[in-house]
Symmetry: C2
Subunit: 254 residues, 2 copies
């Protein structure tokens, strides 16, 4: 009876869902009032009030002049996730160095639940990127990760998530994805040519632990004008591989 899929919409603890609905609304727009939160969540006024009171009491929400904000205590929990494997922490410095040295934006990406998650970033004026999720098949780092999977796993990914087109260049055909991943395995690095955003190219390589487990992917991206020819296919891939090796060495010998 494992084929009972269908309505897994709202199983479980509904109160917990309400709590996170409020937290997510606060994350989206900071400094909301209670009535504004009732509007956005669709919950009743008193429900929002009680949940906020609880969250505030626990320190996960702070209130100032009637406006509510996500409290820093949530950082305490989520940072544990980010530092789960020491490798994730080791990648932090590497991303910074990579950004400094190349003058481009750099990221360290991992996969979770079939999506790419940014764990570290350098550059990008955009306010945040950390923790944000993107479709694996539209990023250089995402494709670098997919290339590490076996065919079954990739097929499952395609079946479950699909290949959404974000730009005209996004890969949407499963066969095309397969040949692309094969090419990535061949040359050891992945390239993203405006598959996630027009005018933006990227390069990425997989990062391994000393035990040869996949840790994540290290990548840089920037405007097409600077990402072409030798830079795109020689200089950056080489530099990325060096940095990926550095992480592995750091993990092995502290």
């Amino acid at each position: 009876m494992e084929t009972d899929e269908g309505d897994e919409t709202d199983a479980g603890v509904s109160t917990t869902r309400k709590t996170f609905a409020i937290l997510e609304a606060l994350a989206e727009t900071d400094g909301l009032t209670i009535t504004e939160l009732t509007r956005r969540t669709g919950l009743s006024k008193s429900t929002v009030y009680r949940h906020l009171a609880t969250l505030t009491d626990m320190g996960y929400v702070v209130e100032r002049d009637g406006e509510h904000y996500i409290g820093f205590r949530l950082l305490e929990i989520s940072e544990q996730a980010r530092n789960r494997e020491t490798g994730y922490a080791a990648a932090k410095r590497t991303v910074f160095e990579l950004g400094q040295e190349t003058g481009e934006r750099a990221v360290f990406t991992v996969e979770e639940r079939g999506e790419a998650v940014y764990l570290h970033r350098y550059g990008s004026r955009s306010n945040t990127l950390i923790g944000e999720r993107r479709p694996l098949h539209t990023l250089a780092s995402g494709k670098a990760i997919l290339a590490e999977w076996d065919d079954d796993a990739v097929a499952r990914f395609v079946a479950e998530t699909g290949l959404e087109a974000i730009t005209d260049n996004s890969i949407t055909d499963p066969d095309e994805l397969r040949t692309e991943l094969e090419a990535i395995r061949e040359r050891g690095y992945a390239v993203n040519d405006q598959e996630h955003m027009d005018g933006l190219r990227g390069v990425a390589v997989p990062v391994y632990t000393p035990d040869d487990d996949l840790l994540g992917a290290l990548g840089v991206f920037g405007p097409t004008s600077r990402f072409k020819d030798e830079a795109l296919h020689e200089e950056l891939p080489t530099r990325l591989r060096d940095k990926a090796d550095e992480i592995r060495v750091t993990l092995a010998y502290g």
Copy 2:
């Protein structure tokens, strides 16, 4: 009737508290099994099971081989808190530079609910520090923040939180704290002489926004052997003030 203090222990939504009890247990020790979680939280097995199912469904917890981990999705929410004010993001790079240039550990600290919270750090082998909370009066950065408050606010802080002694050098006397804060206001920087940990000294300065609001405190710390004489009272304070000004300028002119 605002003097009804006393049993504000477990008001509010108890289910939410259970949810976070589980999340906190997972944050403390990664990769716990359900039965292990029941032991640590004191909740019943089926309760833990249902909560975990809900959290996993929402993506806040991930499960691998029967072991449960905090999911990266929580980062998505808490990073919003960290980047609430653009100043917090601006401080990130400054902390890194400060650490590189001085070769010491550097932190950016803010106050929330009467405690010091680390928002950025450089150095420190210790696995994480981000989001962790410390008593204000035992840190250089904490005292730098306290020195910005008026006497009433400080008195309220002392009354509510007390002045716990963490080391022999910790300030425990309210009068001593007052004179210390006055001295900090005079010279513009705060010094911590083994008030938080034996063998550790620190220096910190307040960081202001272009509107002269207090953003947080910027500090460095390290072994007493390197933190003395001119370094402690000339070189580092000057450098810190420069960096704090840089943040302010960045905020004003992008």
